[in-house]
Structure formats: structure tokens, C-alpha cells
């Protein structure tokens, strides 16, 4: 009978979502990460999981707020199975770490007795599996946190018939969670070398750090974060899931991906070649947002150029979106390019010599090396006349 467990990671509880200016929206984003744990608990119960493995980054910070800690323990305590956690790079262990803080210890004891934080690189024997944890004891570790596992099977002091599961957090060749997070810098550390783990001795490798669900070996998978916390990069990235794993000693694991995320993170790119493109862009955004804009986050990259009038309309539309959506991340590289009509309306005014003169000079400046200020000035002049 195979052992069933949930593989999840990167809960990133307490993530500040600092780029979201609106406090209410920010709180919604943060709260949803706690809400998601209920969905995981329910799934575990439903699937009859023996335990839940969290492969690092349970918290977003090594110094989470007490309130976050308390809510997390509460949510974990509500899960009816043991929850095994290793510290990741965001909530690393080590001297003085949060895992040693009296508050956490108290909360864990009081609210989440089923929570087991694995701080030492030693095999942990459960009723139906042996766990080989690779906890991160510092944010950036130069060595392979799984190195100790290479020799862990030389003289085993654990039941040999139980499935052996490696629980680790870090990057494998080509994958690095920091690459797609706007708040992080990739340093290529905490590197796990899967090729050096004794393949036949291990039955499953539960990985954390990469926020999309990703299979990186026959037995090695990143579960990804259960609730999306960043704009996806590339089509293969598939966040917002947990994995249901069935494993046994010497067998191939069976893995099922279950979606748990609520908020939708979309990416839109558009290039304006003429003013009529604006309406097209509006349609695209509406399509992406759908009916429920308040659960949607949008990353918009804009390029090309628009006339003065249309660029003002674009600004208004973007401003509307920003209000409606949970978040709009905007990369607006749209240049103002006055149309021929706009130029004529400003610079050819025989009755208004002053305006004509100013507009003509501005238009001349837009042909120069640094046209931005002149273009903005043209727009202001345009606005002053309407």
C-alpha cells in the first residue's frame, strides 16, 4: 500500500506585496494565502493523505509578524494530518531564527501540535515514510543542502521498507525562484545537485523554491506555490497547485496536480502603431479581466506611439484599470506622437499668433535629440486649449 501525502511549498505567508499601493488590496492578497491553507487541509482530508510536506518558505520572511505566525499555526493546526516543514531561503533556520523564537515555539505547541519543523539534516522516521530533510539554515548556502543524503544510506538506522522522501528547498539546474520575482535578486545559491543523490535509494524528491509546478526528474518535482504570488513568466510556468503523491519503497511515485489558487495573474503586451490600436487594446484587457476584475492582477507592457488625444485616453483607461483590478503592473513605453491634425490644430492658427509660435517651436523641439519634454509640453498646450 503506497504512502499518500501532499507535497506543497512556498506558502510565503506574510508576503507584503509592497508594490500594491492600495492597503485593502494588499490585505486581500495576504489573507488569501492563509485562506488557501484551508483548501489544502480539505484536500488532504479528502485524499486521505498521511501527512503534508512543505518544502520550504512557509513564511515569506525570517522575521514574520507574530500575527502571521499565529494565523499560520492556527491554519496548520486545523489540518488533520502531520505537517512537516523545512526552512527555506525566505524563512531559513540557524541561530536566532524564527523557528527558535519563543513565540513561534509557543504557538506551535498551542495551536499546531501536528506541525513538525525539521531543522536538522537527519532522517526522520514517520509511520509510513522516512523523510530526508535538507533544511536551509541560512538564506544563502554555498553548499548543496542535500549533500548529507548522499551517504545517508551507507549504514541505515531506519526501517528500510518505508518509502524514502527527500524534502529540499533550492534551485536545480536552470531553475531559480528569484528569477521571476520582482522583489528578489537571483544569486544562484542553495543549488541542489539531483544527479548526485542515490537514485535507487530514494523514492521521491519533494522540492520547493520554484513557484510553478515543475517536474525536474523522474522522482523530483517542484510543487510550486499553492496561491500565485507573482506574474508568471513563460507559458510553461504553472503555479497555484499542490501535488498529491503516492509513493512506495522502490516504486515510481504517482503524482497528481490539483489547482488550489484563487487570484488570477495575467500578462498583457501590446504595441501601438496607430491611434485605432487603442480600442483593440481595450478589448484585450477586458477579455483578460473577465467579469471579476477584483480577483485579477495584470501586468501590462505597452509600446509604440499614440497621438496626444489618444495617449490621454490611454492614460485614463489605465487609471481606470488600476482602480478596478487588484493590481496593474505597468510598463508603459508608449511615446506621444502628435497626429498631423493635432499639429495643424496647434501650430496653424493665424488668429492666435502666440499659440502658433509656441506650438511651432515645440514641434521643432520634438524633432531634436531630447523630445520628451517638448512632447509633454505639447500635450499640456493641447490640454490648455480644450
Amino acid at each position: 500500500m503506497p504512502t499518500t501525502f501532499l507535497h506543497t511549498a512556498d506558502w510565503q505567508l506574510g508576503k507584503p506585496f509592497a508594490r500594491v499601493a492600495d492597503a485593502t488590496k494588499r490585505n486581500r492578497l495576504q489573507d488569501e494565502r492563509i485562506e488557501c491553507l484551508k483548501r489544502i487541509g480539505a484536500l488532504a482530508e479528502k485524499e486521505g493523505a498521511d501527512f503534508i510536506l512543505v518544502a520550504g518558505d512557509l513564511f515569506d520572511s525570517p522575521t514574520p509578524l507574530n500575527s502571521t505566525v499565529a494565523r499560520a499555526c492556527e491554519a496548520i493546526g486545523a489540518m488533520k494530518v502531520p505537517v512537516l516543514v523545512i526552512p527555506g531561503n525566505h524563512d531559513h533556520g540557524g541561530p536566532g531564527s524564527l523557528w527558535e523564537q519563543p513565540f513561534f515555539v509557543r504557538q506551535k505547541e498551542q495551536l499546531a501540535p501536528n506541525l513538525q519543523v525539521l531543522l536538522d539534516p537527519v532522517p526522520v522516521v514517520l509511520g509510513k515514510a522516512v523523510i530526508f530533510p535538507a533544511p536551509l539554515l541560512r538564506r544563502q548556502s554555498l553548499g548543496d543542502p542535500c549533500a548529507w543524503i548522499r551517504s545517508a544510506f551507507d549504514a541505515p538506522e531506519f526501517p528500510t521498507d518505508l518509502p524514502r522522501i527527500v524534502l529540499a528547498h533550492g534551485s536545480v539546474q536552470g531553475f531559480d525562484s528569484a528569477q521571476d520575482d520582482e522583489d528578489e535578486e537571483s544569486k544562484g545559491l542553495n543549488r541542489i545537485d539531483l544527479s548526485r543523490l542515490p537514485d535507487t535509494e530514494i523514492d521521491f524528491i519533494a522540492l520547493g523554491d520554484w513557484h510553478g509546478t515543475k517536474e525536474v526528474g523522474p522522482k523530483a518535482l517542484y510543487s510550486g506555490t499553492p496561491e500565485i504570488d507573482r506574474f508568471p513568466k513563460g507559458e510553461t510556468n504553472s503555479p497555484g497547485n499542490v501535488l498529491i503523491v503516492k509513493a512506495e519503497r522502490g516504486g515510481s511515485p504517482q503524482v497528481q496536480q490539483v489547482e488550489t489558487g484563487r487570484f488570477r495573474w495575467h500578462v498583457l503586451e501590446h504595441r501601438f502603431s496607430e491611434d485605432s490600436g487603442f480600442d483593440e487594446f481595450v478589448s484585450e484587457t477586458k477579455e483578460a479581466i473577465g467579469q471579476w476584475g477584483q480577483d485579477c492582477l495584470l501586468k501590462i507592457s505597452l509600446d509604440g506611439s499614440l497621438g496626444i488625444e489618444t495617449s490621454s485616453r490611454l492614460e485614463n483607461w489605465l487609471s481606470d484599470l488600476e482602480t478596478r483590478l487588484l493590481r496593474v503592473k505597468l510598463e508603459n513605453r508608449v511615446a506621444i506622437a502628435p497626429t498631423a491634425e493635432e499639429i495643424a490644430a496647434l501650430a496653424r492658427r493665424p488668429d492666435d499668433p502666440l499659440i502658433s509660435s509656441v506650438a511651432s517651436r515645440l514641434i521643432a523641439l520634438t524633432q531634436g535629440q531630447n523630445p520628451d519634454v517638448a512632447l509633454l509640453a505639447l500635450r499640456e498646450l493641447h490640454a490648455a486649449l480644450h
Binding site: G14, K15, P16, A18, R19, A21, D60, S61, P62, T63, P64, L65, N66, S67, T68, V69, H90, G94, P95, G96, S97, L98, Q101, F103, R138, R139, D183, R349, D351, D352, P353, L354, I355, S357, V358, R361, L362, L365, D372, V373, A374, L376, A377, R379, E380, L381, A384, L385
Partner: protein, 998 residues
Amino acid sequence: MRLISLTVRNYRLHREQTVHFHPERQLIGGPNETGKSTLAEAVHRALFMRHRSAGEALNEMKSDIHNGHPEVNLVFEAQGRRWTLDKRFSGANGTARLMSDEGANFQGDAAEEKLSELTQNAEGTATTVKQLGTRWSHLWVWQGSSGEDPSQQTANLRDQLVQRLQAQGLAAVMQSATDERAREKIRSLYDVIYTEKGAVKANSRLDRANKEFASAHEAHDRAVDTQARLEAAVTALEEAEVDQREANAALPGEREKLKVTEEAIARAKVLEQQKEAHELRAEQATKTREEIETADTEIRGLSERIRILENDLCPKRSDLESLALQERAALEDSGKARDEARQVADKVRAARLQDELAVATITLMEKQEQLEALIRKENDIRQNTEELHQLQDDLAKLPAVSPEDLAELKSLESGIGEKQAALNAIAAGIECVATDLTVDLDGKTLAPGETCVITEAKDLRVGGGTLLRIRPGGGATLGKLICELDSLRSRLNLELDRLTIRSVTEATDVVTRRRDLEQQISNKEATLKAMGAAKLPAELQSARNQLNISEEEVKRRTEGIAEELRPARPTTVEEARAHREKTDRTVSETVDQEQTLSAIAEARHERWTGQKTLLNHAEGELRAAIKEVDELTMRSGLLERKYGLAEARSAALENARLAEKTAQDTLSATQRDLDELRPNLLEGERQRLIQVIAALDAKRIDAGNRRARAEAQLDQDGTRDPAAEVLRARAAMASALEVKDREQRHADGIRLLHKLFSDSQSAINEGLTQPIADRVAGYLEFLFGRGVRVRVDLSDPGKPGIQLIKPGEPPFGFESLSGGTKEQVSAAVRLATAEIIAAAYDGCLPILFDDAFAYADPARVQSLQSMLYHAASKGLQVIVLTCTPADYTGLGAGVHRLTNQPRLPSLAANPASETPGSGTSSASPAPLAEAQPLPDDAESQFMEALQAQGGSAGNQTLRSLLGWDENSYDQVKTSLITQNLIAPGRGRGGSVILIGQA
């Protein structure tokens, strides 16, 4: 539009006053308080004040001294017509009538409307003083306002100016209302962001964005710092733990090492002490062995030495004996030689004695001879001396008559002879040839035959009764001669007596005799001197003494020689000398002998001395050898007593060597033990270990402290999440930067727009103001010369400006100009503006200056007149009100004069001035009626008028200026010519010239 005439009635101090305006240039002159400004005001109010105005405006016009409502009658040209305007200001009852020369007639408000049309007064006629102030303010320069900046008024005329300039094709453009709105909007946007000086306004959106960014940046830095400190604390904690672990692990080992080292040190100390004891024993054993060895060696050496010394003693003794014999023989030889030498020395002495006696004998005999010679010489001298004494005695016996005495005597005798002869020649001789009577001459009886010469009167008594007084001839001479003769005789006798001679003859003999004797004495004395008489006694004494000495010496030497050997005394010197040669030879011979024998004796003595030394030396050596043998023997005995004889010594030495070896072996063993402990390194090692332990202790304690500190830092209260705060701060900073950049771009755009608006407007304004500036410069050239320029800025209606630019000087703003220059520049601007606008008024506008050049100096006033003349030539009607009309003679203006007693009412009634059309041709008032009397100050007026004409004027001109009839004019003229103040001049109709100006 041109003014032709003005008449006011009941207007302030004017009962009635009429002014006829010169078509181009009018001067209204008069002292203060004569109502000049009132006339300026009257024209202005006629044109611009509603006839039914009341209140302050009306009250100002009313007269305190004249009854009736103020009335103004103004005749002017406008729109090609001549107009007559009558206004009576009496509040609600005021009237207005405007009539044209073509018969148009407007009453009341219609008149006002028409008037406003003619004056192009868009605001209509005013009802208040305040409203009045804005009407034609550019043309009416009120008293006291001439120095005001005219640019505001010019700016108010912008529209008119633009129209006129455009009409003149001067390319002036006018911004539109839209332009203005846009400009205002941009300006207001600019003002929201920037201050007047272009700095970002405090609390503007840009300023706030900048500050928020700065604040966000700071917050970010703080958050990062906090996070970094937290991370540093983690690292510090890790390091502290490692340090603590390392120190705790290392300490026991190091302490054990220290214990071992200290034990080794104690053991080394014991060994060191043992080693010292062993060393001492070994040293003593060695010393004992060496002592025995040394004694043994010494004893053997002593024995050998004694044996050698004793062997040497025998030959030394026999050598000594031989040497003693040789010494004695040498001593004897030496004695013999010395005796022989002594004997010869005695011989030498005897020979010397003989020789010395011979020499002394010779000397004695020579001395004797010398003495005898001296005695002979003594006898000679004595004889000569006696002879000398004889001669000296002879001389002494003779009277001491000198040749001089003799000459004196002879002279006296000769004088006596002469005198006697002369006396005889004159004396009377009495010879008693025979007598019977007693002839008595002066008492002396004169015997017959007796003669007597008388040389003086003498009584010759003959008998008893005859007394004859005989007087010789010669009178007094005789007496004198007798006296002189007596004197001479007396002197001769005295001299003879003194010389103790009797006569002159004797005297002559004595002198001769004395000379002989003296000669002889002298010769004798010379002889004696040559013989050395003086030193002879000394020589004699010396010779005698030497003789005695020689005799004594001979005696002594003789006695020194044995009697038998004494030689016979020689009898002669030659004998003595021969003897002496013999003795001398004997001496030489014996001396040679003595020297030879002495040398032999000396040599023998030296030989003996050498033998003696050898002997002494040999004796010394022998004694020393014997002594050494004795000493060595004694020392050997002592040593043998101490160390025993040879066998005993040998046994003792063997024992000592054994003991020494044993001690050395023990010492070596101890040293080996000690060396194994390496005692020289032990203390260093101990110190090192103490330091290591101290350092480890310190490290352990320090690590503990660091750990506690780090733990305290890491002990979070859970109310803050530094990592999240960093992210939030970073996001806030990025957001603030975005806002800042956006605001900055917006501000930059607005600033650019604002600048472009300002620049463009400046360009437009320049198009407008340049023609004005050019004209103003044209006027100012009269004042400041060529090259002067003016900048007129009307771009900002709220802040127009004028700048004066003189060649080579920086621009001066109007406000920085001097009072006089302000007035003049202001006038130039007004003239230029009026000139442009005048085009809309048929090419003419009146411009009035009321006492407007108060600050101008006389030279400048002259230039001003040229400027005003120029303005008039451009179509303006220039009206100047001044209290010094004489200053403006160069203007060539029509002159209207006011006095303090404005009592020429006939002028006001002059119908000619009101005749339509007449004003354009003549500005001169009508002549006075013939019947009118001349004013009191007629002569002054005449002079002023003439002065105003530059000191020379035609009679016609001057008379018309004065407004007098011909009679009056001639009357005053004649009077002034009589007073020699003016002179008649030439020209048509005649002229007059100011005296001094001709």
C-alpha cells in the same frame, strides 16, 4: 484733433479768460497762482467731463470769488470739421452744446456722445474725478506728474498703438484672446509649480513628490540597514557560537599541557641543583689531582735545577780568584804611573814659578824706567812754571792800563790841547811887566813879569786904589771853553789817578810793557800744557804704585822659590828678558813630559777599573747561584714534607684520578637527564601556554558576550517584519520615484511652455514696441545725442517697463533715472505715443505739459524745446504751461500770458477768436482797443516779450505778441529806447533789439 481756443467763465479764479491756441506750439505763461493749471483742467473737463456732473468734480471747478456757474467754451478741429463746445457745469442743471461749422448741433447727452466719438473716448465722458484721471492721461501731463513712468499709460494704449502701427504697415501683430487665455492658463500652471524666480514652489506637487521620494529613500535606507543589522546579528551569533565552541574545546588540552610543562620545570630545577653539586665535586677532585700533579712536577724540577746550579758553582769560584789577581796587578800599575806623573807635575810647577818670577822681574824693571822718566819731566815743568810765575808777577806790578784806557787818555789829552789852544786864542793875558804897586789879581798878587792869562772877568787891584776889572774877549765862549778845559783836565786827571799813572806817556809805556809780558805768559802756558803738566802728578803716582806692586810681586815670587834655586837678580832689562826666555823653554818642556805621563796613568787606571767590575760581577753571580741553590733546596724540602716522597706522591695521584673520573661520570648522567627536559624552552612554553589559555578564556568570554548581544538583537517581538519592511520601503521608493519623475516631466513641460510663451510674447511685443522705441529714441536724440536707445517692454500688462540705453553705458530702468531725466524720457515717450495715435485724429493731437520740466537745467530746457518743436512738426499740438515763459523762447510758440490781476476782460469778448476758421490761421490774440490804457507793467511785458523772441523781434510780431495797439506799442517802445534798454533794428516794418544782444 486740434484746439483752437478756450474761454472759461466763473471757473475758479478766472472770471473770464480766453486763450487762442497756436496751431502747433502754444505757451501759456504766468506766475504761480495765475490759473495756468486751471486752464489745462478746463480744456480736459470740457472734453471729458459730463456736463451734469456734480459732487467733488463740480465743487473743484466752482469759483470762490466769482458768481455764476463754471462755463467752458472750447473751439477745436476734429474729423475735418471745426467744432464749438459749450458746457455749463451746474450739476443736474448743467448744459452741453456741440456745434460744427457745418451746422450740426448736439445738445446734452447727444453732445457728450458726439464728443466722445470725436475724442475716441470709448469709456464716455466721466462723472467723477477718478474717472477723469484715465481720460487722455497720456496727453495731459498734469503738474507734479511729469516724472511718472509713462509705460503704464502706454500699455493701456496697446490696442490703439497696434492698430495704428498695423495701419502704418509696421508689422505689429496682436495676440488674440485665445492666445491670452492659453498663456494665462500656462502661467497659472507654472505659478502652481514655480516661484517667480523659477525655483520649485514649496508644497507644490513636484516639491511634495521630491520630498516624498527623499523620505522614501531614507526610509528604504533605514529598513535595509535594520535588515542588514539583523543579518549581521545572525552571522555574529554563528561566529560567536563557533568561537565559544572552539575555545571550550581547546582549553582543557592547553591546561593539561601547562600542567605537564610546569612539572617538567620543577624536575629540571631539582636536576639543576644536583648538577651543581656534582659539578662542585668533580671540580674538587680535579683540583686535588692537579695539585698533586703540580707538586710532583715542581719537586722534580727543583731537584734538577739544584743539580745544575751546583755543577756551575766550582768553575765560577776559580774564575773569581783569577780575576782578583788581575785586579790587584792593574791596581799597582796604575799607582806607579800616577806617582810618575805627579813628579813631573812638580817640575812643571817649579819651572812655572821661575818663569813667572822672570816675567815679574822684567815688569819691575820696566816700571822703574818709566818712573825715572816721569821725574825728569817733573823737573822741567817745575822750572817752566816758576818762569811763568815770574812773568805773571811782573805783569801784576804794572798799572792795569789797557789799550782802551790808553786811547781814552790820549783822546782826553788831545781834547785838552785843543781846548787850551782855543782858550789861548781868546784869553787875555796879563803880564806884569813892572809895577810899584801891589798888583793883585783876584787876590793873588801878581809879581812883575808874571803873566797871567785870564779867561774870565777878574778884578785886578793895583795898589790900593785901583781896581781893574779885566774881562777877556769872547764873552760867554771863553767861559764855556774854560769850563770844558777844566772838565777835560779833570777827567784826564781822574783817569790818570784811576790808572795810577802820571802821564799819558807813562801810560803808553805801561801798555807796551804789559803786551810783552802777556805774550810771554801765553807762550809759557802753552809750553806747560804741551808737557802735560796737568796730568803729570797722577801719572807719577800711578807709576810709583805700579812699581810698588811689581816690587811686591817680585818679592813674593822670589820667596816662593827655594832659596837655593832663586836666580840672581838681573841688572838690566835685557838680562832679565834673556833669563825669562830660558825659564819659558823650561816650562814648555816639563809640560810636555807631564802630559805624556798623565795619559799613561789614566789608561792604567781605566784598565784597573775594568778588572774591578769583572771581579764584582763574578762575585755577584756566584753569590746569587749559591742563594738560589739554598732557596730551591728549601722549597723542595717543604713540598716533600707536604706531599711526601716520590712513591707516596705517586699513590696519592692515582687515588685522585680515580675520584675525579667518578665525579665526572655522575655529572654527565645528571646533565643528560637535564638536557632531555630541554629546560631552556620550558619557561617559554609555559608562558606561551599561559597566554594561549588567557586568549582562549578571553575568546570564550567575548564569544559569550557577542552571542548574548546577537541573541538580544535577534529576539524579535514579532510586531515588525524587517524583511517585509525592506520590500515595502523599496516599493514605496520606486513608487515615489515614479511620481517624482512624472511630476518632474510635467513641471519640465510646463516650464518649457511658459518659457516659450514668454519668449514668443516678447518677440510679438518687440514688434509692437520697437516702432515706439524708435520714435522715443528719435525724440531723446535731441536731449542725449545720437546713439541713445530705448527699450519699451509692454509684454506684461501689469509690469510694463522702459529702459534708457546710452552709448557705452548699461541700460537704466526708468526708476533709476534722475528726476530731470525722468521728466524728459517720460515726455519723449508721451510724444512718441501721441505721434502714433494722432493718425487716428486727423494726424493731430494736443499734448499738454503743465510745468512738466521743473528739474530741467537751462541747457536741457533748450534741447527740450527742440524736441517739442520736432513733435509739433510731426503733427502734434504742443501746449506748454510754465511760470518761466522766457525759458521757452526757442520754441517759437504762441504765447498766452496770465497775470496775478487777470483784468483784460476785453480779451474774453474778442469775437475774432470765436470766428470759425480764424483759429487755424492765427494764434495771436486780437489787438487791444485803442482806448484801452496800457497795463502798469507794460514796459516789463515788452522786455519779456522781446526776450522771449530771443532778444530781437519785428515790431509787428512783438506788438501782436503783446496784443497792444500801435500807439501803445510805440509809446512803450519809445520809452524803452529812451532808457537805452532797447534799440531800433532793421527789417520790414522795423524791429527792436535788446541792448546787449545786438
